[in-house]
């Protein structure tokens, strides 16, 4: 199994790890049975993602993709963040091994869920 240097970097030095106590939106995807659970917390100001944090249970790819997702989303408007796809995350990481594309690359979904959670609360 070969990971790109960028995947290894995000695994070793993940960006934005942690929880936001008073988060405006939270998204969680995955399942411990499958071996991956990702939670993303966002703080929203002026319709932009002002702060974002994550927690992940899973393999190296699961941790790296969540880290990269938070980096891509930080500072973006909610609409922009909603357009971030799993493929974008994989591309930014210099690619993922094919078997990891589906099982461990779920963080974009967690991000979208966090945004929808925020929007749902606002209504």
């Amino acid at each position: 199994m070969m990971y790109s240097e960028k995947v290894l970097d995000h695994f070793r030095n993940p960006r934005n790890v942690g929880e936001i106590e008073d988060a405006d939106g939270v998204g969680s995807v995955g399942n411990p049975v499958c071996g991956d659970v990702m939670s993303i917390y966002i703080k929203v100001k002026d319709d932009k993602i002002e702060d974002i944090k994550f927690k992940t249970f899973g393999c190296g790819a699961a941790i790296a993709t969540t880290s990269m997702t938070t980096e891509l989303a930080k500072g973006k408007t909610l609409d922009e963040a909603m357009t971030i796809t799993r493929q974008d995350v994989a591309d930014e990481l210099g690619g993922l091994p094919p078997v990891k594309m589906h099982c461990s690359n779920l963080a974009a979904d967690a991000l979208h869920e966090a945004i929808e959670n925020y929007r749902g609360k606002k209504k």
Partner: protein
């Protein structure tokens, strides 16, 4: 500490092999001096491998791998003795090569039964006995499991098979060279060269005198017609030399590794909360420690430890081509999420007390970092 996946060739083994690549390159089938030299070397290796397991030289068939030997021992024997019936019984924790032979035999019309193991990974003999009937052609229970290290009661399993006139095969890939083995009670036994610090690409099947198996590779009738193809002379010489060294050094090395293993298990499980030994505490190969850590995943552990120069493997789905967690851990009753967090340390000749202390010292921080990142970790462990 991932010697289960691959071992270096012992330098003394390499030295024994080297002349057979260039100097003594003859074919053992030739009727001239070079052929005789090669034949003599192969026969000596056959004797060395036989001596390791208390067999006769004529009972050893060299193959390309333990996988081929499992195919030949389980598939070849079952297909040779079909008159007896149509059932075969395998333990649930056999190596994937044995399990896949079972699946192939099932497609050919055989009935396959799997004997369960208990929570410590020991085959349940009572259950095994209830699965073996008078239509059973063959029973296969490994001598020890390489992933969880549990030593199996294979001699008792052989007695159960023989009471129903079934043949008995044991896969001794992980056990040979680690613990003393006797072939008296078994009909077929699989051995691997690399697991004895010999070269990869060589294995052997012990076939008890008087028994036959249906060959899988047809040709010039080498290896008593059981396994055709010109012999891999340097590889076979290497396996022989490795078996010779194992016979001489196994007892002392086993005692040394057992002390290191127990120190590692104790050190890691005592310093890290919610870490548990997988497998049996004492019915255990000297070189194996398998420990699971709650709330984190094995591949992430492997990558973290690799950075620190510690090489290990895992039963996690994330490290498997199939994306399924280890069938061995599942057979022991572990949940998927428990199996995901398992690490396998397999010690080898190069490992010493300093290595063990280094691992014990590094593990809490590695586990702690991943647990801090995991949404499953309970508050009190963060």
């Amino acid at each position: 500490m991932d010697h289960g996946a691959g071992k270096p060739v012992d330098p003394r083994v390499l030295e024994a092999m080297t002349p057979y690549f260039t100097e003594y390159y003859g074919n053992p089938a030739s009727f001239h001096g070079e052929g005789f030299d090669a034949l003599k070397a192969v026969n000596q290796a056959r004797q060395q491998v036989a001596s390791l397991i208390g067999a006769e030289a004529g009972e050893i068939v060299f193959t390309s791998s333990a996988t081929e030997a499992n195919n030949l021992g389980i598939g070849g024997a079952t297909r040779r003795y079909t008159k007896k019936g149509n059932r075969i019984v395998l333990s649930a924790i056999e190596h994937i090569s044995s399990l896949n032979v079972g699946k192939e035999l099932y497609r050919e019309g055989f009935e396959i039964k799997y004997a369960p193991v208990d929570a410590e990974g020991v085959v349940e003999l009572g259950e095994l006995e209830s699965l073996v009937n008078d239509k059973t052609v063959l029973v296969s229970v490994m001598a020890a499991n390489g992933e969880i290290g549990t030593i199996q009661p294979f001699e008792e399993a052989a007695e159960i098979a023989h009471r129903s006139d079934a043949l008995f095969h044991t896969d001794a890939t992980a056990a040979a060279g680690q613990i003393g083995l006797e072939t008296k009670s078994v009909d077929f036994m699989t051995l691997s060269s690399n697991d004895l610090y010999g070269p990869k690409g060589v294995g052997a099947l012990y076939v008890k005198k008087g028994l036959r198996v249906k060959p899988q590779i047809l040709g010039g009738g080498q290896e008593r017609g059981i396994r055709s193809g010109s012999e891999n002379v340097p590889g076979i010489v290497g396996m022989g030399a490795a078996a010779g060294l194992a016979s001489a050094e196994m007892d002392a090395e086993g005692k040394r590794l057992t002390i290191l293993r127990d120190k590692l298990i104790k050190g890691v499980t005592e310093s890290i909360k919610e870490s548990y030994l997988n497998g049996h505490p004492t019915l255990r190969l000297p070189n194996n420690a398998n420990i699971r850590f709650s709330y984190i995943e094995g591949e992430a552990l492997i990558l973290s430890l690799d950075q620190l120069g510690i090489k290990v493997s895992s039963g996690s789905a994330c490290t498997a081509k199939t994306l399924e967690p280890s069938h061995v851990l599942r057979a022991m009753g572990l949940k998927h999420e428990e199996a995901h967090g398992s690490l396998v340390y397999t010690l080898g000749k190069v490992n010493n007390e300093e290595h063990i202390e280094y691992v014990i010292q590094q593990m809490p921080e590695v586990v702690g970092r991943l647990r801090a990142m995991s949404p499953l970790t309970p508050e009190e462990l963060r």
